[in-house]
Amino acid sequence: MTGAGGGPAPGRRGRGRRGGEDLAVPEAEFTSYYGRPILKPPVWKWDIAAYLFTGGLAAGSSLLAAGGQLTGRPALRRAGRATALAAVSASAAFLIRDLGRPERFHHMLRVAKPTSPMSVGTWILSAYGPAAGVAAVAEAAVWLPERGPFGLVRRVLPPVGRAAGLAAAATAPALATYTGVLLASTAVPSWHEAYPELPVIFAGSALAGGAGVGLIAAPCAQAGPARRMAVAGAALELVGSHRVETRLGLLSEPYRVGTAGRLLRAGRLLTAAGVVGGLLGRRSRAVSALSGAALLAASVATRFGIFHGGVASARDPKYTVVPQRQRLAERRAAA
């Protein structure tokens, strides 16, 4: 078994790896027990897909904020920090909400397991969340009275916020990309086999999302980095999602059809629109903001698309049996 993992051998089935939509897989003949799924599809509900988005958004926003902080673009900083706090709060809410036993959310802190992306994510969030929170709260310093105990806080907060903002930014890329591993490290066929791409897509999507916040919030003068972030993010996202839709042979199918296919196509369009709008409309606050919104929407669509694609692949035993049969046949042929 090579590093390509359990994926089907290139060229064997997905004829024309780069053949765009022409990836028709011969109708797979397979057997399963009363035709039923072999795997249990994920029990995660929409809130996990939403978390993928908000987590990425928080990460992208924190990076944006840190950039703004370091390059003197206060609008980016403020918007980034505020969005980061809101997004990370929503993330926590989504995560806890999805638990079967929400009151036991703190059990996540019992262990620190490198084998569990969710455990790793928990600790990343534990590091990131407070930092992002403090950074955002620091923005409120200006509204505090100048005297008294609050005056002290008002004076201390900005430097603390700066440190926190940098800390949040330092952990943000991990927050954005670990979710790729979160999905990939499952038995869900189309997630697992997409493990090389998922972090890339999610990184790109996070960047684009952060950029979207910047485009919406910042005056055109400060929005340049956001535009560039959008381009970079879109590039990562588009390359990544193109690869999952084409590289995985049969397992790419769930990303091309049904809900997942529609969402990913929509994501691609919105991303393109966002980037184009961001670049062409650089002088128009409105166009920029619209572009930013498109990027955010694209990020949402992409996350939900990836999510649904995986779920679909687990629901149909075809995606479990056929690639595994193929693998066995290849092993036998080799032996």
Binding site: S32, K40, L99, G121, G180, P199, G204, P317
Partner: protein, 362 residues
Amino acid sequence: MLPDPNSLYGPLDPAPEAGWSAAPPRMGFFTDASVCIGCKACEVACKEWNGVPDSGFDLLGMSYDNTGALTANSWRHVAFVEQPRPAGHRTPPFAGTPTGGSVSAASAAVAAGTAGPTGTAPGLLPGAPEPAARMGAARTGEDTGPGTDDRAPEFLGMPGAAPPGRGTGAEGRADFRWLMMSDVCKHCTHAACLDVCPTGSLFRTEFGTVVVQEDICNGCGYCVSACPYGVIDQRKGDGRAWKCTLCYDRLGAGMTPACAQACPTESIQYGVVDELRERAAARVATLHERGVPEARLYGHDPNDGVGGDGAFFLLLDEPEVYGLPPDPVVTTRDLPRMWRRAGLAALAMAAATVAAFAGGSS
């Protein structure tokens, strides 16, 4: 103590690797489908001991299987498969009777569409008719055992085209076999459910088994997606994940797990995994001698994708016929590469941000 080099993939004795320095020998199940009589004592004995609730009162039409699948509310599941194939009967069961074609495929296809509330999530999902029909279809050529599965099941069209009993194989059916197999959690050497569990609720016991700790589980559901066998799921209302514990409490008291103790025909054998593997190999050899070439082991090989199962099987057909994945792989095999990819992506993200801020003037 450093983790074993095979701590994520490959042959391993899991209990010592999980920190049990004075671990007893690894314990497990060998489930021999060739002597299973489908009585479901295992299902019931398990529920009685473990206080597992019912999983719905629905006629599924999957032969005598009204459980449907392993769920949080059924930790043993007896599969029933009817097939117009030879079964080592000295003469075919229906030789000489005025039969038409077989209906096994068509009936299975209809049964694929049933479902019922199991009280769990995701529970029992309906299936597709074609692969169900293929399960119940005759085979072209002779069944000479595992690894010769290039022959497609002989399945002549979907039901509905012709009334059952007509139109398919007009020469009549003579051969028939009724497969039964008690499925259970595999207690993998490399257990993805355990590895991905963020709370440590799922843990490796000193017996090498994999157990959900009900006082810890917070119902995150990660294990459900991680299991390559589709074993574990979530109990509704309760919210937690449940599965076979290999009767951890009984093992601690030196007792046999409830299902194995109840099993009337020793189809479910409990013991030291190494010994069970020897016994299983001998049983396969015996069956091959007795003219049952289709007998094969499943999950016994420490070199397979999950490092071998603590609960493995002797099957009489391909694994997927029984609802088992033909070549499962634990997700952690690829985990280091996944983290590397995530790291690269994170770096790219950071670099892109730096570039975005550093690379322009506006």
